[in-house]
Point group: C2
Chain length 682, copies 2
């Protein structure tokens, strides 16, 4: 059985290319070991799992397995409790959506507690095969660290994607749904293969048509999408407009304490669940960037979120409430108000006031997905509220999939960040997994980077970001290096030189991007609106709360407790002290927390201004190096992807030069301090 | 007879409000003097003139005149040669589109050599009445200085107007023509009243649909507009796409030297003239800002323009060819290329190579309608080519009709600028009138500021710019003060306090706007794209050739001959020397021509930086003063316009503060030099 479209184009296949094994010895061993399949259960997802297993085995082994597994060479697919040969002590280690994959004595077990677990087990098993894992090492027990592992789509029904850099929506066009669901199904498969179990299918900025997704007009179409995602164990959520009762013309108010409003949402929930019985719930951007919310009615965010939560509760739905709330009409002259403080100051007083089917979704940093930010102090701050981490896979501020910027190393730093909330080891990953403070719901969400481009992500190497996100959402303990190597081997080749070269480029790319863009955590030096390319003052005199405060003496935002905005003091003591003191503040965040003279000496011995010059020159050279490295892959990978990445690298070099020259010229003109090395600055 | 819509709303009526005279004595005198009308000719435009005269007299006198003028109290409308009572020496002073208006011994003559002249005479006569001119002073002979007095519309067929700030197009909507022509007719009347005789009805950027205006699809509709404008003595022109033969799918090339292309345009001209026998000709933006042009085929602009001119020649049409040609993909690092040089360097070598039905349309300055620019050196440079001056009535860079910025004083400076081409007195106004070098065609064009807003121009006071443009196009010798006073009296009231107050605001407004925006001729410190509001670096690292080159020591573009781009040397000796020397360069253009340290002392004794601070603080205070002055008019003018202008002034104050603070903060942060007066800079 051939899945539609897959197997025809390596860009389209992503990490599921399922190439036939060339090593004859391994192939022979595998072919004997995996000659038949038997399935112990029947369900929609089991069917998906079985199809995938057959498809993958046929591709990888070049031969379809038999439909039985009575003898040696059999693979058994089933729930742990129904597989008698599975030792109790192993089975008991499998959690709700976890799985066990185990080869022993000619028999293979792929088992889980739920059908999602089994599906993940199948994908894991096929990965092991593709990676030519020795039979004796086919022995995994994996449980997801996070309960919710979600993807957020900022897709609009007109087909555009807010911050999308890979074509248009695969769900919508012309203010309706796309009839052909091939892409949706293939996408569901990609997501399931990395363990994603929830998806929000529309933009958090809910416009006119999207407000109507929760009405009869569109619910049958939403249900069709849910049907497809359900086959892959993925629950569908919708972003909703807090003002829906008003905007749909049914009530004069959307006040969460108004009984009519409460009833309206309760009936609305009932209606939605009549179409989609396993509907996940709502994602809400309220009182943020001109979106309506409870503030309109003098209510707080707990009152707003709980009202929706109550409506969804009878059906098992949840409300995911974004903490991205700040004053987007700030006066740039005002140095006391600090956008970095906004989410913390809004939500901390509400800790413990949210219903237990409300989850706060918190962006990783206090600003907005910059190349470098500290971790939001809400992590470790909130102790009595369900929490999710929000990341951005789509590269809004990190090169928009024209530049290589592999974000797994950034996400690792975020996940590993120690909040000290309950002493050392209170990392973000432990918090969102509910291990520091118990949470009924928790997990991780990220903004999708896919679109209608044949290669899904615009830049082929940006597929690694989607893959890496899924890996970390499932298991944040994995190292960036391991994930990267795995992705390269699944996507391109296990050729050691290819693996080494592409991994090296990917793993260096975030720091490289940081080098030639905004320095030392200051962020925001981009063109307003579209956010591509350098513009040092682009957001300096704007109402968005995004300033660098550079003058002819120095640059940076004083967020210290004593003389600044006090943001540093929002952290627990260990971090607060570290950030508050210019001497102990990590240098990559120096300008985020402090105003620093250009002549200040960094730990390297360089002055700040020289560091700016040096990193910007280095950044361009690093991209040039990427291109040189890439060129050596010519004979080792397919022509299409080779040329594609090469083309993007040319763009990246051109644009990195622009970044370098604009940033360096800006600071040279502002400081009047020449480059010690006498390089050309304009 | 009541003209549609006029007379119902003072904002809509503009300067044609025709208020009944309140002074009983004057009214009695006028009523006796102007009791009947006789018309000696019959034509479309005569009919318009007669209707206007009847309409105006009835309004101003409160009584309809009789249809005969046999007795005393008669007004005779006719051609000079047919009015026997007109002394030969007077009649001989009237030129082609000029007129004579003369009251003597109970009889009034309104006469011209052409029906356009008579129409202008009628409007002039009604103005005199509205201004309550004593009978003995009703004695004018006026001839237009400029042959072509044109309005350019940057209207698109989707209804938008490029750089329009007064609503949508009155011609087009939804990629078609608006059926109801009421606005068009009323607009034609407004234009005729100020002597406009030509109109280009579509944007110089000719997009998909507009390219098709010269095809059967739209020519019948263009003809309908031409029919209306014809009644008011206004000739219709079209902007055309140089690549039309290709874009309309009829030829593989638009090469002007290709015989097929030449034939195509000849047939096209024939087709157009079959619909509109008095069609004016083409306006062409070629090889500019991504528009196609002769450069595509390795031809020069003379070859391109002449090819079109040859096609139009048999029908009496002209080609108006814009000189707005420059490299819009310049590298900001490049300090040798100078956009200011571009038009001069492109067109000077072609002087004398254009056919005599080609006119070069030259923007007033070498850049693009900034609040302050030197005059283009093409004026006085070109000696053997028909020339027109292009101004911009729409306030793209001068406050977008949210701010009061009355441009007549600016235009006066431009028209009075002495190029020294043939010694002292070789002013721009003499050149475009063909008085320095003979020209078959010449004149003046300006980009319209009107749209579908009920008050036509967005800001009621911006009506004065349209009025003033028409006045200066007809007679550039008139003073700004005289035009302004006339406009206020016609538009609002002859109340001396109203006249004084509004005139004072208008006449100061350009300098005020300049004060709080970009200093001393440097220009361009606006937000890219929409061009509203301050952004000092908005165009600094861009490809548009628009730089200020500010650093921590000083600011300005060195355009001197010795060390700069050499632009100063494009002028004739007297001006070249003046501009080239920082000591003699007019200070309002100092930063246009020179890079100047912040500590440089201006003639006022102030340093440059202190001048920047002072003018920006002053500018805001001046706008506040405007508001105070305006408030005193409350009881003296109608509520609607009073409130409207007050509302716009509030916006202007708010935005002037933003300008002041951004500009001052930028230069304070960059220079590190504090304000001597210790005012707040951020």
């Amino acid at each position: 059985m051939k899945l539609p479209n897959f197997g025809e184009n390596p860009s389209y296949d992503c990490w599921l290319s399922y190439r036939t094994i060339k090593n004859a010895e391994v192939l022979k061993e595998y072919t004997e070991a995996f000659s038949g399949i038997s399935v112990l259960e029947e369900s929609l997802v089991f069917k998906t799992a079985l199809n995938e297993l057959k498809f993958g085995l046929e591709k990888i082994l070049g031969k379809a397995p038999a439909d039985t597994a009575d003898s040696d060479g059999g693979i058994v697919l089933g729930f742990c409790e129904n597989i008698k040969s599975l030792p109790e002590e192993l089975a008991s280690g499998v959690e709700k959506e976890g799985y066990i994959v185990r080869y022993r004595d000619g028999k293979t077990i792929i088992a889980g507690k739920t059908d999602r677990g089994v599906l993940y087990g199948v994908f894991a098993f096929l990965r092991l095969l593709q990676l030519e894992t020795p039979l004796e090492k086919i022995n995994l027990v994996n449980n997801p660290a996070n309960m919710l592992r979600m993807i957020n789509h900022w897709d609009n029904m007109d087909g555009t994607i807010e911050r999308g850099y890979a074509g248009n929506s695969i769900f919508y066009a012309n203010n309706g749904f796309i009839d052909d669901k091939t892409r949706v199904r293939d996408y569901a498969r990609l997501l399931a293969s990395i363990g994603i179990n929830g998806i929000v299918i529309n933009n958090v900025n809910v416009h006119y048509h999207e407000t109507r997704l929760i009405t009869k007009l569109y619910l049958p179409e939403v249900a069709k999408l849910a049907d497809i995602f359900r086959e892959y164990g993925i629950t569908v959520f919708l972003s909703v407009n807090f003002a829906s009762p008003v905007e749909l013309g049914e009530l004069p108010t959307a006040d969460p304490l108004d009984v009519r409003v409460q009833n309206w949402w309760r009936e609305k929930a009932e209606e939605i669940y009549s179409y989609i019985p396993d509907f996940g719930g709502f994602l809400v951007k309220a009182d943020s960037e001109y979106r309506p919310g409870p503030f309109t009615y003098g209510r707080d965010h707990a009152e707003g979120a709980n009202m929706l939560a109550k409506a969804l509760e009878p059906f098992g739905g949840v409300v995911i409430w974004r903490c991205f709330v700040y004053n987007c009409k700030q006066d740039w002259r005002d140095r006391k108000t600090d956008r970095a403080n906004a989410a913390y100051d809004t939500f901390m007083p509400l800790d413990g006031k949210f219903m237990d089917n409300v989850i706060l979704q918190i962006k990783n940093g206090p600003m907005d997905f910059q190349v470098r930010e500290p971790v939001s102090p809400l992590f470790g701050g909130l102790t009595k509220t369900n929490q999710m981490l929000e990341l951005q896979i789509t590269q809004e501020y990190t090169g928009q999939q024209k530049h290589i910027c592999y974000l797994v190393p950034q996400w690792k730093e975020i996940l590993d960040f120690d909040t000290f909330a309950e002493g050392r080891g209170s990392t973000v990953r432990e918090i969102i997994a509910g291990k520091i403070y118990p949470q009924k719901y928790g997990g991780i969400a990220a903004v999708s980077n896919i679109g209608s481009d044949l290669n899904w992500t615009g830049h082929v190497l940006a597929q690694a970001n989607l893959y890496g996100y899924g890996c970390l959402a499932f298991n944040p303990d994995r190292s960036a290096e391991e994930i990267t190597e795995e992705w390269v081997r699944l996507t391109f080749s296990s050729h050691p030189y290819v693996v080494k070269t592409i991994s090296s480029i990917l793993l260096k790319s975030w720091r490289t991007y940081e080098n030639y863009t905004s320095p030392l955590g200051i962020g925001w030096m981009v063109n307003p609106g579209h956010h591509y390319g350098p513009n040092v003052d682009g957001y300096e005199y704007s109402p968005w709360g995004t300033y660098h405060r550079a003058d002819c003496f120095g640059i940076g935002v004083d967020r210290s407790v004593e003389t600044g905005t006090g943001f540093a003091g929002r952290y627990h003591k260990e971090n607060a002290e570290m950030y508050n003191n210019i001497e102990t503040c990590p240098e990559e965040l120096l300008l985020f927390f402090h105003y620093v003279p250009y002549t200040y000496r960094l730990k390297s011995g360089k002055t700040l201004i020289q560091h700016i010059y040096d990193t910007h020159f280095e950044g361009v050279e690093q991209v040039r190096k990427f291109r040189e490295q890439w060129l050596t892959l010519k004979e080792l990978i397919d022509k299409e992807r080779f040329e594609h990445v090469l083309g993007r690298l040319e763009i990246q070099i051109r644009d990195a030069i622009e970044w370098r020259d604009v940033i360096n010229s800006y600071f040279y003109r502002k400081s009047g301090i020449p480059d010690e090395k006498g390089r050309t600055i304009y």
